[in-house]
């Protein structure tokens, strides 16, 4: 096992898949000469050349569509958005072209493209550069949506995404690039659509993904130490297809559920999880499911306000207290 950053784990995944399959290429802003705005593509231009590591002008809709068109004729593009905030300019190509092409062509044109880049709230970047898009894309049939929390998952899931024949929206955590974790030296993939229990527990299920996994794990440690509550932390890893069985299985065991995400509350990922849980685990619930989300506001710049707007271990603990009725009426 090597200890790698999330960034380097992604870099390895790209490098290995480009070595493995000549149809895989990387395209996006600053991916080549600049070595990647977040250095995920470091060294790839040197190894693979300009045809396979393509610097684009600032034209998200254009190069997203170019990726879809290349996928229509059999290439496997990896389209990097410098951040998902800018991908709103390309959402027509992602939703109207990539997601629907297979269906509206009656199965003739699969689109094996990966759209990837950093997302989620960052630090003091203000309203337009600090937001989560999981639920936007997860809403769309035809798209798969992946949001890894660890270097291990990041590498294994990116490799699976590149090999998948459907369009994948791969949301990297902007705040996760520097985190370190163990990554095997040997070849491995993490299948899409499988959640992972990051911590076993018996009293409450905390469902989370991406950055909120570390938030939830911190909360779980404190719950154990301070309240003698054993929390099970379920990392969704893939938002769509959602591993409902893993979540429901955990809730059957714990009878209580809290869902954590950085995105806004309305119609968020957690809303979907709650829907599945109430239907599949109704008779197992001892309390209404609680959600911990980003505040329902555009992200403020001010540090203190920003902290209030993001999910925190305190927020998760408060939600766990509610589902375990520690707070009485």
């Amino acid at each position: 096992m090597a200890t790698l950053t999330y960034r380097d784990a992604l870099n390895q995944a790209l490098r290995e898949e480009m070595e493995r399959d000549p149809d895989v290429f990387l395209m996006g802003e600053e991916v080549g000469v600049y070595q990647g705005a977040y250095k995920v593509s470091r060294g790839l231009l040197e190894q693979f050349g300009e045809l396979r590591v393509v610097d684009t002008p600032i034209a998200e809709n254009g190069f997203a569509g170019i990726g879809v068109g290349a996928a229509m004729v059999g290439l496997r593009p990896v389209i990097e958005f410098m951040t998902w905030n800018f991908a709103l300019l390309a959402i027509d190509e992602v939703v109207n072209s990539a997601a629907k092409m297979l269906y509206m062509s009656g199965g003739q044109f699969p689109i094996p493209v990966v759209f990837r880049g950093p997302g989620g709230p960052a630090l003091q970047l203000g309203a337009q550069h600090s937001q989560s898009f999981e639920s936007w894309y997860a809403h769309v049939p035809g798209l798969k949506v992946v949001a890894p929390a660890t270097p291990y998952d990041a590498k294994g899931l990116l490799k699976s995404s590149i090999r998948d024949n459907s369009p994948v929206v791969f949301l990297e955590g902007e705040m996760l690039y520097n985190i370190k974790g163990e990554v095997p030296e040997d070849e491995y993939v993490v299948p899409l659509g499988e959640a992972d229990i990051k911590r076993e527990g018996s009293d409450v299920t905390i469902v989370c993904h991406s950055k909120t996994v570390s938030v939830s794990l911190k909360a779980a440690e404190r719950l154990e130490a301070e309240l003698d509550i054993s929390a099970e932390v379920v990392d969704l890893r893939t938002i769509r297809p959602l591993d409902v069985a893993a979540v429901v299985g955990s809730v059957h065991k714990t009878n209580r559920c809290v869902v954590v995400e950085e995105g806004w509350p309305f119609a968020g990922v957690g809303a979907q999880v709650v829907d599945d849980v109430q239907r599949e685990a109704f008779d197992y619930l001892d309390a209404p499911v609680q959600r911990v989300t980003g505040a329902d506001v555009p992200m403020p710049y001010n540090k203190h306000l920003e902290r209030l707007a993001k999910p925190s271990p305190d927020g998760v603990i408060a939600a766990v207290r509610k589902v375990t009725y520690l707070d009485g009426d």
């Binding site: 254009g62 879809v68 229509m72 009656g106």
Partner: protein, 332 residues
């Protein structure tokens, strides 16, 4: 404006080619007339944009590309898929929403596809398929083959961001792609002059240092020759071209619209019809002695019979089964 052939002269050695062009235009014309009739009978639903009047553009241009070239079109694309050789029955069945349609009944009028014939849609969002065509051209360059991609769209699409982003990258990266603007003068009900600061659409190419062509879109031979040049430029020099073909649609924007509406006059429509691309080629073929009036009438009857067969095929084709509702959402 390029007119390589004066109306008074045709090359007798290419008589067969001319007859093919005429037959193709007649097929499109009769197919679209039948589609209009079927729409009026409630057999076709949703939006349905007919190509009547513009036949020379797709016919001339697509007669200049190879079978292994990639073809993209917008939502007024019944002609383009027919001209790629897709069975008229399969195209009509798609309009009818039937299982034997070229998209299995799940695409409809705006989303026709035929992978086997390299017809890559059939796209309903104005301008959104321009990047797709550039993507296919990128793949050609990536693989180093000598194919090209050709992309059809209306003049209203040149005002959208995707047009500029795509032309810029196509020129910058020297992609083998031909962009064909079918300038029928109206984006839905808005005249070009009311929507664009620059009225000569082909001049947009100079922003991207791209080759440009302007052609009479009511003259199928002129469109053909112009496209031949552009295709050669793409295939041999990996240089994209923007072709503006000036044409006219006889019908409303879609079947939901009146034929001339408030935005144009009946007189304008009648004046344009005098330049009808089919009648024009017929006259020249007769004048030059390459076809007789009777030949032409017989050709029309044959084509009509073919279209009737297509309608019959579509009517007999079953609806897609309910089990297909959830198929083809994700690839295996």
């Amino acid at each position: 404006m390029a007119q390589p052939y004066p109306d008074t002269y045709l090359d007798p050695e290419r008589a067969g080619f001319y007859r093919d062009l005429l037959r193709q235009m007649l097929l499109v014309r009769h197919f679209e007339e039948k589609a209009g009739e079927s729409y009026a009978q409630g057999k076709i639903g949703g939006f349905c944009h007919l190509y009547i009047g513009q036949e020379a553009v797709a016919t001339g241009a697509l007669s200049a590309v190879r079978e292994d070239d990639y073809v993209f079109a917008g939502y007024r694309e019944h002609a383009h898929i027919l001209l790629r050789g897709t069975e008229p029955g399969s195209v009509m069945a798609e309009l009818f929403g039937r299982a034997d349609g070229c998209s299995g009944g799940k695409g409809g009028s705006m989303h026709m596809f035929d992978a086997e014939r390299n017809f890559l849609g059939g796209h309903g969002i104005v301008g959104a398929h321009l990047p797709l065509a550039a993507g296919a051209a990128f793949a050609i360059k990536y693989r180093g083959t000598d194919q090209i991609a050709i992309c059809f769209f209306g003049e209203a699409a040149v005002n959208i961001g995707a047009f500029h982003e795509t032309l810029n990258m196509a020129a910058l990266w020297e992609l083998p792609v031909v962009f064909v603007v079918e300038n029928n003068r109206y984006g839905m009900g808005t005249a070009l002059e009311r929507a664009a600061a620059v009225w000569d659409v082909y001049r947009r190419a100079c922003s991207y240092d791209m080759a440009e062509e302007i052609v009479d879109g009511m003259d199928v031979l002129a469109v053909h020759e112009t496209t031949v040049r552009a295709v050669e430029r793409a295939r041999e020099e990996q240089a994209p071209t923007l072709i503006e073909a000036r044409t006219y649609r006889y019908m409303g924007h879609s079947m939901a619209d009146p034929i001339h509406g408030h935005y144009r006059t009946k007189e304008e429509l009648e004046e344009q019809k005098k330049k009808d691309p089919i009648r024009r080629l017929e006259k020249r073929l007769v004048a030059d002695g390459l076809m007789g009036e009777d030949d032409i009438k017989q050709m029309g009857r044959d084509v009509l019979a073919e279209v009737e067969e297509a309608v019959q095929f579509a009517e007999e084709s079953p609806d897609p089964g309910p089990e297909t509702l959830y198929t083809d959402v994700y690839a295996d």
